[in-house]
């Protein structure tokens, strides 16, 4: 089928296409305007902007810890309205079904679950397979697992470490690798309660820095497109900016992605010993081209923090609201669930301002990524409001009126004039994520690209405009019209398939037999275990 999206303002920074024009789709791909071709279907897009479907690189949408959070907090996500006929289970609060629908309505077509525990890969993919419409992907967590720590301790050759990383990515069907508070979860099992970049995991004698550098190098030499995704040490503590700064410096010329930098943007100034270090971190990021970051913006209200940083979550138990938590010591990382409410008090305001400062002070939209670390800083449903804050000084000024003045006094936010343009939004939420993840088929509107397209009707309210897309196409299917789901479909989980070394599989089989009393079969699964027609889409490694 040939579809023409007619007369919209096209915003496609990758192909340098900016301005009024038509966009053509044939089946599931974007195509050049056909010579004299007549469209089977024409979408009237005058008064609209047309962008590629948005890509979220870091949102906790499924897997063991997210599901445990659902179990812990049934009161937080009651469903309300009657179910619409077309969209099964989509009014079930915080369900996989609702997740896909809500993302699609905002024009998001690909979302990455950034914290898949390798042992729970099957569970994670089953959840993702029940998220409709959009494509998904996962990052596999390494760096607190005994197998890796033992290899590092024993000075295993780098090729052996690469074989292990490749096996993990291939067998868990991941799109990349994440390390979360490297070494801290292992140390916590030995009763260590704080852990920094140069601290050493007991029993292994391996520092957090060494784990990060080892994984960064392995990811790079395997040609995995997405650089190592790092959740630094000391998340949330005053003075954590020093840790983030040290980690940025440790990138040392090789690509490195730092997740939710806002949660490390904390200095120790002021009478409460808690201040904004955003300007300092932004300057470091600006000066370090091999580093990319996402923000983890805080927005006000009730949410729940879901993290595989088990040490940090354990220490945050006292701040739980409501007062209940789950802390799990897993095979590698485990994790913690701590419900939390961000108030407009000193601390909440500080965190909110720091996130915005980072967004606005980091110059290059190709290296700063739009996230709330859903649901940790805020649920992803806060995105439209966040877009408005980034694109409108006035919206920021209005918001600050009700916030803590003493916190704002310790931040530079009020002095920042910058307003994101639509072109910058298109880079930050489309082009750059595609590039960072190695997804050459999306993030742009060039001929041959996958027809993931979001059309937004211009409105004075940016939040309204970007919160309810006029039209969304996924793989060429028109899935959203006027902010409502009109067509149900199933996306894929995008994965890498690096070659697996047979000797490594034998080593791992022995290891699992000896240490767990179980064959590796207990952890492997065939694609057919995911009851969808085509559950996975393969993304090539760099060659």
């Amino acid at each position: 089928m040939l579809t023409k999206i007619a007369g919209g303002d096209i915003i496609d920074p990758v192909n340098g296409r900016l301005g009024k024009g038509d966009l053509w789709i044939k089946d599931d791909k974007i195509v050049p305007a056909p010579a004299g071709g007549a469209a089977d279907r024409t979408i009237e897009a005058s008064g609209c902007i047309v962008m590629a479907g948005a890509i979220d690189i870091h949102s906790h949408i499924g897997g063991g810890n997210v599901n445990t959070a659902r179990l812990l907090l049934p009161e937080q996500h009651a469903a309300h309205q009657l179910r619409p006929a077309m969209t099964p289970l989509s009014n079930a609060g915080w369900s996989t079904f609702q997740t896909g629908c809500l993302y699609a309505k905002m024009g998001f077509t690909t979302v990455v679950e950034p914290a898949m525990s390798p042992g729970a890969a099957l569970h994670t993919h089953l959840e993702l397979a029940d998220i409709p419409i959009i494509d998904k992907a996962t990052l596999a967590i390494l760096g607190n697992d005994d197998f890796l720590l033992s290899m590092i301790r024993d000075d295993a050759p780098s090729t052996m470490i690469e074989d292990y990383v490749a096996w993990t990515v291939a067998s868990t069907r991941a799109l990349g690798v994440k390390v979360i508070n490297a070494g801290a979860a292992a140390a916590f099992k030995e009763n260590v309660r704080t852990f920094s970049l140069d601290d050493v995991v007991p029993s292994y004698g391996v520092s957090s820095r060494k784990i990060v550098k080892t994984l960064q190098a392995a990811v790079d030499s395997l040609g995995l497109p997405h650089p190592l995704h790092v959740h630094c040490n000391n998340l949330g503590s005053p003075g954590s900016a020093d840790t983030a700064a040290a980690t940025i410096a440790a990138a040392d010329g090789l690509p490195l992605h730092l997740a939710h930098l806002q949660f490390y943007g904390y200095g120790t100034e002021g009478k409460r010993g808690f201040s904004s270090a955003a300007a300092r971190l932004a300057e470091l990021v600006n000066a370090t081209p091999e580093v990319t970051i996402d923000i983890g913006q805080v927005m006000f209200g009730q949410t729940v923090t879901v993290s595989s940083d088990v040490m940090r979550q354990f220490s945050a138990r006292g701040s739980a609201h409501p007062k209940k938590t789950v802390i799990h010591d897993g095979d590698g990382n485990g994790g913690g669930i701590v419900p939390y409410s961000y108030g407009k008090d000193f601390y909440g305001t500080m965190q909110w301002a720091i996130g915005l400062e980072l967004f606005l002070l980091i110059d290059d939209p190709w290296r700063v990524f739009f996230t709330t670390d859903h649901p940790n800083g805020a649920p992803f449903t806060a995105y439209p409001a966040l877009f408005e804050l980034l694109m409108s000084r006035e919206a920021r000024a209005e918001m600050t009126a009700g916030l803590s003045r003493s916190a704002l006094a310790l931040s530079t936010l009020a002095a920042i004039d910058r307003e994101y343009t639509f072109e910058e939004i298109a880079i930050m939420t489309r082009a750059a994520p595609a590039k960072l993840l190695g997804l050459t088929d999306r993030g742009h509107l060039g001929a041959g690209a996958t027809a993931d397209i979001a059309v937004y009707r211009r409105d004075r309210s940016i939040a309204k405009m970007l919160g309810r897309a006029a039209y969304v196409f996924k793989d060429g299917d028109l899935v959203v019209q006027d902010g409502e789901i009109i067509h149900y479909r199933w996306g894929k989980a995008l994965r890498l398939k690096p070659p697996v070394d047979k000797a490594m599989v034998r080593r791992l089989e022995d290891y699992h037999q000896q240490r767990y009393g179980l064959s590796l079969d207990w952890f492997n699964f065939p694609d057919s275990a995911i009851a969808r027609e085509q559950p996975f889409g393969e993304v090539p490694c760099r060659t």
Partner: protein, 362 residues
Amino acid sequence: MAVAWIGNREALIERAAAHAASLLSSSRCPVFSFDTDIDGTRAAIALAERAGAAYDHADGAALARETALFTDKGAMTVAPGETRRRADVVVIVGELPRIHHGLVGELAGTVPDLSTVNQRAFFVVGPNGMSVPPLNGGREATRLSCGQASLAATLAALRAQYKGRRTSQPVSNFNDFAKALAAARFPVFLFSGHAAEGLALEMLQGLIADLNRNSRASGLHLPANENGWGSTLASAWMTGFPLRTGFARGFPEFDPWRCDVARMIAAGEADLHLRISAATAQPKEKKRRMALIALTKTQEPVAGAAVTIAIGEAGLDHDAVVYSSRTGSLRSTEAQAASQLPSAATIIRLIATHAFAEPLPC
């Protein structure tokens, strides 16, 4: 071989499914109970949404106690693999379901390789006479009990004594326990809702929290029913809620009392019961004015059922994904004796095609 019946009469599977669908469509208060794999659970919950049904595990009471620990209080838990590799003290809390006895034996037959203490001590909390899973090599777990006091009361006493408080009745062998804890690097408490009341599970978590003030400890959750816990997980991602959720008002509502399916049947609230379990149903007194649709592994119609359709057993007759308490997560298993019997999910979807225009989302 017959695989479907309407009442006591053999029927084509399509006819039986169509009849089940018409019963479902005309039901005012349908309830589903199941004991099935992940695919079966997904299909059943998707059908429950369409039919406005409440759903629960076929033997939901113990699971509901485990679920309540998470929904009401939270917990500290540890993976089974870490338990095997780190636990230098293992405490069996109350009677464990038989399915977990093998794991306990294995823990007794191995030592923690990630601990500097290369040995494991075993304790058991519970009244005298409570059955204890056999440990390897004729070893015995040290008994921690307050005579015939309940598990919750014993745990409360244990917690109080650990904090140095007086208790009306001291826990037997407490000094041995205190000594073991003082030396332990990672004690693990094995718990289940099988025989433990909610208060006991809560009290245990209180003790674990106390221990974690200065050292490490955690609990290994050994579900009362593995399929049941798998269904709990799938229910959570599909609806946001655990089992005992109902769609009476068109959207999912979690209510562990109101949607207790056994209670709804006993109270005469349900007018249709869809029972999905390869295991043969216990003969229960037939409820008047309640139709039974039985999906079970059978060669004959279930007594009193309006419709019976034969299904295979997950992991035996067909490949399946199930919860495994050995890994603490979902696991893919191959059919051990593949047969022609359809899976529960296949039959549920077939019934749905007769009752509703749109196919189920899963």
